[in-house]
Amino acid sequence: MLIDVNAYIGHWPFRQRKYNTCETLIRRMDRFGVDLSLVSNLNGIFYKNTQSANEELNAQIKSDSNFGDRIIPFAVINPIYGGWKNDFKVCTTEMGMKGIRIYPKYHGYALTDPACIELVESARDRSLPVTISLRMVDSRPSSWMDLGRETEWALKDVLPIIRKVPDAKYLLLNIANSTLLNDEDTALFKKTDLIMDTSGRALTNLGELLQTFGKEKFAFGTHSPILDELTGLLRIESLRQNEADEATKELLRSGNAKRILAI
């Protein structure tokens, strides 16, 4: 089984995107052998009221009985916007969303903002993963209206929220910048129930990173449709036997994702 822990539908305001509906996403999943995808709506990054994006995603999934079998929805929640607690409740109960995504840089708050901590604690209390993307796009060729290069995160930059809520579950996505952590932070990473997806450009030496962080810390992810659907898979499947045996590859393809989703 192959599970993509990092996919989207919706629009990106600065570039035209293809394959950004449930129908076209599933077509691509079929082509590349992906069974399940964790999906959020990109529009939630840019709508001030993120709940409208969650409603759009929910409506698309409900529009075809097949979509629900293949798409695992994650809600975009903005904890400094009015009504977020009700959004969280509606998404995770009535809409059946299985986790949340947060966008502190786009929504304008710090990871350690009390409201963010409260949201992450709420997710923890319901055993729902909290998803953080280190960056959404390569800032170099992005629009002058988009976030700049100084806003891209390295792996160490997400540690403040993990320190505040160490017993939550985390999905850390698009690891595009440095993965260097000191010994203390590496130990915290190892203790935390978290997964990094394989879409990010910093995973050039995945075999070494498996040694550093552990084989249970990575999972296949695409960051599609912003990034292509296959680079994250190539990083896994091109691992040599001495870097990852078949059992480890199965963890990366789906086992670790199943663990964090409790499916």
Partner: protein, 291 residues
Amino acid sequence: MMAAVHLLSCSGKEDPDTEKPPGSSFNIMREVMKYRKIDSHAHVYITPDSPATQIDFADRLGIDKLVISRPMEPGSEGRPEEFIKCNDLVLAAMKKYPDRFIGQLTLNPRYLKESLEEIKRCMDQGMAGLKVYNHVKISDPLFYPIVEKFIDLKMIILMHAGIGKSRITYDATEPPNVSIPEDFVDVAKRYPEAMFQFAHLAGGVDWEDACKALKDSSNVFVDMSGSNNDGSIMDCAMKYIGEDRLLFGCDNSFYQPIGQMLAANLSESQRKKIFFENYNNILRKAGRNVD
């Protein structure tokens, strides 16, 4: 349940996605190893692990040949002793892996006499092309005698293209002499018989801006190297540049260019062209083809 939904067909529209076999048969490493590849934009480094590391990635991903260079440091004076040292590194790597590496020299047209001497020295030792960085813009008249020399040699000039004006205003980290797409357009128009390679379309440049600018410059090839595997780059490149002028390349980001190539809606013949044939045809002009 999964196996059943796995094979669901989608709408009956004519679309390359729907013509592909069901995902259960998709084997990415089989696809990777199916194609001969020339990495048209590769480097060797001063670090002790190079060039073994680059060969190791190439072996892992089925890259037959790598066109290597060692450009001078950005912001350096670019004096002859510096470019000679860079070229010596490339020559040593070529000797170590003669079946895998195709060497390109570097130079600085501000030192014309020494640059022309260096071209001869490197060509005599089997190099096949030029890689230049951001010391002088590709359209600067200082480059004209170098371009003319490479017309005679029937070899390509690979010029770095930086972030430039990707966010409309020039990137603050860029040196003033970095070449932007419009500079390639200018020099390509002046020298229609020359061959230019626009470097790393996925390396930080705004690919839509670049592809649109280079659309009608038929003697400018575009390499797909770089760390940015944005899902729309290949579509854009195919739309504006086309299958005959695109070159596979990695620029040391080995996974992304291959992932993009395999994910893109390309036919078998288009993939063969971009992975291998287009660059091999460039080499063929100087009798250096590798097939």
